[in-house]
Symmetry: C2
Subunit: 366 residues, 2 copies
């Protein structure tokens, strides 16, 4: 594919100097910011992620800070997940929907205090939706993008590396909980979370100037662990069934279609602006839904939605695909109609390089 | 720079097949969509744009359609430009601001009917802000992204090429007016507008399936005019002082700082949500403002904001820069503080490759 043209509009991150020094080879753009996609090769990065530990510049997970007396009320307006049990120290994966139940983003919300949240967003300007709602409804909240940039530590040796830099107490963090840990005199929010299935942490680095010192400290401390610069890995995230907003679902889809019904409690999510629209689908279920698929053959890159066909009838679309070395097939994510979503259903996938046979898989590869 | 990693999230356009066949060499990402940045070379594209005619895939100028009884009221809420004199057949450049007067986008609004507009957006999800406002204020409007993709015809021979495809009446279009013209039995909205100073048109192509037929017809009809695939040209747009949202201004800036005061009539823009915040700055003027600058030396690509210094004091930042063959200098756009914004003021510009002398220019190069 072509090269990417740099500009201020494609924002650099607090870790960009480290990313470049590590020899980044490919980028995508995410929230108007550069996100690395490959360092050595996607396959080499994949094997390394599964066996060692990587440090990821995921500053593109921009934060929307919501603060003030109406913060909690506004948060519940945004999502069909019931937030009543959420407490400071917790992170929640929260599908966010508009008044039609269409997904606007699928962030992780971090509850910092009773009246203060960070919403760690996927690729859309969720800030604009939240600001519009807050203004239109005259809510007493501040809504802004703070100077906070997540850095992820991912891989089987992530606990060891994090403990060396933040102390052994970080090992006790439970999944989707966060704590505050000292780094060179600064208290940093560290959560057990991340966009891989290999385990690890996300550090919410406050202040651009604190980015490279942490990056360098992790690289230094992890030398004998074979730490490398890495990034979300296309193969690993598809194997693990980690959805990507804009790829696997978008504003056309409900959370239920995206297979996120378990994060919705629409009946009790009182105040959610999409509640009316979602009540019916939450009872009856969706007509199409995300599925894992295996595709056979020598596929081109999945740079567009690939129609899934049964003869002349379209029954869905593949939205992400990659060759898996470990599972020796093309692993894929697609949206499939109810008539064809059962495991072992045979279908055809129409790519820009021809038609390939595929089968609906029982589960993702985890 | 590195390569760009394709994915469905970086959407293709109705014209992508034509763009690829024409040998696109570089992309940026804009509104979650691919925008070509170079075909032959930026300099070759530049000379050609100024002497012949180009067809541009600017589908990234996504439309926000606003329709319904409250459409006009909502439009005026979005901008400090007074829209009372706007009529169907007109396009308006409309800075859009939040409740603090910070710029959220700088689109071109197309008034299709008394109660129907297309807002042709720069690089931010303006749809989310407008949807949030409309929901919060319970306005009777539809707000959505239709299947409409602009294709631009730009260059000194644009009138001739457009006339061959849409008929001679297209020559009579005045600047920022549009008409409906027949193409193969379809009525298409064609406006005299575009992101260059070379003149031309933007065709609002409705329906993805109509993209390549129009692209091919233009390429065919313009063969003896030396028509080429092109794209917004970095050098030409800086020479012409065409601002780029996200590069030259963003949510931190008022329209007045961006030098767009002439498009604001804050006093009479009754209903604009940013009116209170902008009334004072509209009277007293901003403390910093966009300026043209000449920079001497062999500059690196402007992929980040470059501090503008007077000794140890920062007095602004360069946000776009390119080497101009015609003017034999580096042309640049920057935000400069009042103390240093007068023409001929000498300053220093700090880039990633060292410090370079610069001077504030009287005007852009037009």
């Amino acid at each position: 594919m072509a090269t990417i043209a740099g500009s201020r509009r494609l924002r650099r991150t607090p870790f960009s100097d480290g990313v470049e020094a590590a020899g980044v080879k490919g980028y995508t753009v995410y929230n108007h910011m550069l996100l690395p996609t490959v360092f050595r090769s996607v396959v080499e990065d994949y094997h390394h992620l599964k066996s060692a530990v990587q440090v990821w510049d995921v500053a593109v997970e921009r934060q929307v800070e919501i603060r003030g007396p109406d913060a909690g009320r506004l948060m519940q307006m945004l999502t069909p997940r019931d937030l009543r049990a959420m407490l400071p120290s917790m992170c929640y994966y929260v599908p966010m929907v508009d008044e039609t139940g269409g997904m606007l983003n699928d962030p992780v919300a971090v509850m910092l205090d009773e009246d203060r949240y960070w919403v760690s967003i996927a690729d859309s300007d969720l800030l604009y939706w939240i600001k519009g709602l807050a203004y239109g409804l005259r809510l007493d909240v501040l809504v802004d993008e703070p100077d906070v940039s997540p850095l992820a530590i991912q891989g089987p040796k992530a606990d060891e590396l994090a403990a060396r830099v933040f102390g052994d107490a970080v090992r006790d963090l439970r999944f989707f909980r966060y704590g505050r840990f000292d780094f060179q005199g600064q208290q940093m929010v560290v959560a057990r979370s991340g966009y891989s299935k290999q385990g690890g942490f996300e550090v919410y680095v406050e202040g651009t100037q604190n980015g490279m010192p942490l990056w360098n400290a992790l690289m230094e401390a992890g030398r004998d662990l074979d730490v490398h610069a890495g990034c979300p890995n296309l193969i690993e995230r598809i194997e693990g069934g980690l959805l990507s907003y804009g790829n696997d679902m978008n504003r056309d889809n409900t959370p239920h279609e995206a297979g996120l019904g378990r994060f919705c409690s629409t009946q009790t999510a009182i105040g959610c602006v999409g509640r009316d629209a979602l009540l019916r689908v939450s009872k009856e279920g969706p007509v199409k839904q995300v599925r894992a698929l295996r595709i056979e053959g020598d596929l081109p890159p999945c740079d567009r939605a690939w129609p899934i066909m049964d003869g002349q009838m379209q029954v869905g679309a593949v939205t992400s695909s990659a060759r898996s070395p470990d599972f020796e097939t093309n692993v894929a994510i697609g949206m499939v109609r109810m008539t064809h979503w059962d495991a072992k259903t045979d279908v055809d996938v129409v790519t820009q390089a021809g038609v390939f046979p595929a089968v609906v898989n029982e589960t993702f590869w985890i």
